[in-house]
């Protein structure tokens, strides 16, 4: 079979191949490390029952929704009391409640967020805890 305008066709095919295989070539030679968020802060070590405001599975999937609801509740409705499943009372506060235990933002929040390229805008307003 004769190919007409072979040069232009070849350039087109090369561009197509480069684009179509770009995820493969980008990952070439790069070792991806699975994130391991750490829970070993002094505050958590002190707790008798290591339990967040909701069960772990819920927090894993829905923490962003919970934080968003907390923000709306505190900022728009002036209500900052959160009652957990077992009747525990929490103060709805990112800096005061969440980060009190999870004071290791870099090893807790950023570990996964960085891996999946999520940039939450919490820290546009809030002050992240001081870490070394």
């Amino acid at each position: 079979m004769k190919i007409y305008d072979g040069g232009k066709i070849l350039i087109g095919i090369i561009i197509f191949l480069l684009v179509a295989t770009s995820p493969f070539s980008y990952n070439m030679g790069k070792a991806s490390v699975k994130p391991e968020p750490k829970l070993d802060t002094p505050e958590i070590q002190k707790m008798e029952k290591k339990q967040c405001v909701e069960p772990k599975e819920f927090m894993k999937a829905e923490h962003m929704t919970l934080l968003n609801d907390w923000r709306d509740s505190v900022v728009r409705e002036g209500n900052n009391v959160y009652i957990g499943l077992g009747g525990e009372v929490y103060n709805m506060s990112l800096q005061g409640t969440c980060m009190k235990c999870h004071s290791n933002k870099k090893k807790f929040c950023d570990e996964c967020h960085k891996y999946v390229a999520v940039k939450p805008y919490c820290w546009d307003c809030h002050i992240p805890p001081k870490e070394n």
């Binding site: 190919i3 991806s32 994130p35 996964c112």
Partner: protein
Amino acid sequence: MGALFSLFTVLILVLIAFAGVKAGNLHFLFGVVIPYAAIITFITGVIYRILKWAGSPVPFRIPTTCGQQKSLPWIKHSKIENPSNTLGVIKRMALEVLLFRSLFRNLKTEIREEKVVYGSEKWLWLAGLVFHWSFLIIILRHFRLFVDPVPAFMHLIESFDGFLQIGVPRLFITGVILLVSVAYLLFRRFFIQQVRYISLANDYFPLFLILGIGFTGILMRYFTKVDLVNTKQLIIGLFSFKPEIPEGVGVIFYIHLFLVSILFAYFPFSKLVHMPGVFLSPTRNLSNNNRTKRHINPWNYPVKVHTYEDYENEFREKMKKAGIPVEKE
């Protein structure tokens, strides 16, 4: 008929993935084997189609143009609509590929007061344009799950796409636009009589398939949620040739992945191949230089000629005897 057939085909595909992963436990098949097969089919299929097109000779420029050809100096030449050189062709092609220039000229025909009237019809152009651009941005956005470390421009795309900051995870504008525009493209086939008449199953199938991909994607991001870290691990495994099946990836992800694999495998054998095809459209990619350059038809039959010189050489003696004048003695 075609619409229902396509809808049920997509639903059956969803069921196959659901049953295969949920009941059959075929995670490796749906998470690794089928995606690789789809990528290979896509790449080889597209190259095959391009080579097949390239095998067709285009002996003569096809001047379906919308502007004045290059002519005498005082006649204004329309350089983009009727290009006379490669630079003009590149500009025309860029307008076509990036802004769908020729679809912008779309007209509709109606009978009003027993007369045929023509009117401007820009909705198809608008829906088509925003659909394609949204799809492109969505694919680019997915790179955050394809590669590690994620390049910085990904954050830029996401911050623009999610700048409304509606809800958490942030609502992506392109996701909404994609579903709305695909719905328009689908309803157009249902409710415009003439379009409905010419619509076939292979027109409906990609639309339902893309709707299915969009729905499963949106479900995963905003509603049912998947374990993103494990999901990314699976995808990174695919793209670095170290396939693995991590625990705890939801079945909805496998459905999404299966539909995407079907889309890519179906791509080279369907109307979707217009993606590379637009670059090989003879009416768009050839400059109109029919009058300035000689184009030789490659399938010209080699004509056997017998010149007068040969003729005379053959019959010289006989011609002389008959008294016919000859050029060479």
